[in-house]
């Protein structure tokens, strides 16, 4: 009997989480179009609903009604599976996201490790899409995406490692509680870790200056050229959910998660996440794209050494103070 109740309770959490994820993805899509419009002196979507608030829903309905074309000589199974591999890991990463003191799906004691492991699975989705759609441009963009995401895993994990050394626990709630005195970003070498995290996180999610995989001007539309209708929407939602996750992790790890003076904790968490989301959007609409080899050189020759040195200094600093 108890097990039955458990199942209902968990599916309830799951449905609530899915609701939140799709709502936040919709909101992020709308907000990205608004921010890019403000930056470029234009209004952005204004027609559907007040200031275009219903625009994402209109887009979703449009994509639903679109015909699902699959390229003739595509590798059917791989091509069909790719969108799921892009969305499912992104959604699963919400399991140990600390929205509030007790508002968390499952507070795993290896929370951070789980998150990083899950988010790196969506590389498979991209590569399957690239290989499955059997067209040269997608193959090229898939190869680029794989190389990029793998080489940016290392600086990402190193910067997260430095944070763990300070919080000496993997669970997300403990990290947030460890920042009760002051946020982690205040420590000098954690600010460097924050910068490295932000840069490699944008590269992880193929955004902003590192969006070489779906580079409009070179590879037309990259790996999701052959996708239309709901499959394309899946990639879209996957991309924005990933975007939300990396800013949420950054908020919890560096800006003290749901801690804040008088506002309710959930609001604080969302405020900090959306501040980082705004920063990444602002960066996206300002900088040109980095070339493939510069991107790799930047990861291996600049980010990784600095991340290692930062780790070393953090270790020495902790030995001295603790």
């Amino acid at each position: 009997m108890v097990k039955f109740l458990d199942i209902i309770f968990n599916t309830g959490i799951g449905v609530a989480l899915l609701g939140f994820i799709s709502a936040s993805a919709m909101f992020l899509i709308w907000w990205e179009r608004k921010v890019s419009a403000w930056i470029q002196n234009r209004f952005g979507p204004m027609r559907v609903g007040w200031h275009g608030l219903l625009q994402p829903i209109a887009d979703a309905v449009k994509l639903l009604l679109k015909e699902n074309i699959s390229p003739a000589s595509a590798d059917k199974l791989v091509w069909w599976l790719a969108p799921f591999f892009a969305v499912v890991p992104a959604v699963m990463a919400f399991i140990c996201m600390p929205f509030d003191k007790n508002l968390i799906a499952r507070d795993l004691n290896t929370g951070v490790l789980f998150m990083i492991a899950i988010t790196s699975i969506c590389v498979f989705g991209i590569f399957m899409a690239g290989w499955g759609s059997n067209n040269k441009y997608s193959l090229l963009s898939a190869m680029r995406a794989v190389a990029q995401i793998i080489s940016y895993e290392i600086p990402l994990t190193l910067s997260v490692l430095t944070v763990l050394m300070f919080a000496n626990s993997l669970s997300m709630q403990d990290i947030v509680r460890a920042q009760s005195k002051y946020w982690f970003i205040v420590y000098p070498n954690l600010t460097i870790a924050f910068i490295i995290y932000i840069i490699s996180a944008t590269a992880e999610v193929n955004r902003a200056p590192f969006d070489i995989s779906e580079a409009e001007s070179e590879l037309v539309a990259g790996f999701h050229t052959e996708y239309s209708g709901m499959k394309f929407a899946m990639f879209f939602i996957g991309e924005y959910t990933n975007f939300f996750i990396i800013s949420a992790i950054a908020a919890t790890l560096f800006l003290g998660g749901w801690q804040g003076p008088f506002l309710p904790p959930v609001v604080w968490f969302l405020l900090k996440t959306y501040a980082i989301v705004f920063l990444l959007m602002w960066v996206r609409w300002t900088f040109p794209r980095v070339r493939v080899d510069q991107l790799m050189a930047f990861a291996w020759k600049v980010l990784t050494p600095i991340a290692f040195v930062n780790l070393l200094i953090a270790g020495l600093f902790l030995i001295k103070t603790r």
């Binding site: 403000w38 002196n41 234009r42 209004f43 960066v283």
Partner: protein, 146 residues
């Protein structure tokens, strides 16, 4: 070693300068128009569609001769007092390049270009216009235009 960090510093500074420009532009006034409701007012010399003040025309067919893409064609008939009058004046809007030469060359300024610029239509017949009938451009004039 020093050069290595110097490069990173210069690079970071230049990135921030770019961000400052975009941030400044967030608060600049928006310049786009919400098209169907707000419209751009065309200049007084704007060259829209060819139009004809029928009574002024003295059928000298200078405009037909000057037109670079030969989209005007007219035929005349003799009235009782041996005066030439227009029988038909065809205007093929599909070929017209809106250069305005017919307006400049007309001695009595009978042919002129009006201010209509929304000229899309679903079938080709709409583009072959007979300039003599008065309500030729009614379907192109958008009621929302003030």
């Amino acid at each position: 070693m020093k050069k290595y960090f110097q490069n990173i510093a210069i690079g970071a500074l230049s990135l921030i300068k770019g961000l400052v420009v975009t941030f400044k532009n967030i608060f600049c006034p928006k310049i786009t128009l919400q098209y169907p409701s707000e419209r751009q007012s065309m200049a007084e010399r704007f060259r829209g569609l060819v139009d004809l003040r029928v009574n002024k025309c003295i059928v000298c067919s200078q405009c037909v001769r000057i037109c670079p893409t030969a989209c005007l064609s007219l035929s005349a008939k003799l009235t009782e007092e041996k005066k030439k009058a227009l029988e038909s004046f065809k205007y093929n809007m599909e070929l017209c390049c809106f250069c305005g030469l017919c307006e400049q060359v007309c001695p009595v300024s009978a042919v002129y270009l009006n201010k209509i610029y929304e000229v899309a239509s679903f079938n080709r017949q709409d583009l072959y216009i007979d300039l003599l009938n008065p309500e030729k451009y009614v379907k192109f004039v958008n009621p929302a235009v003030k």
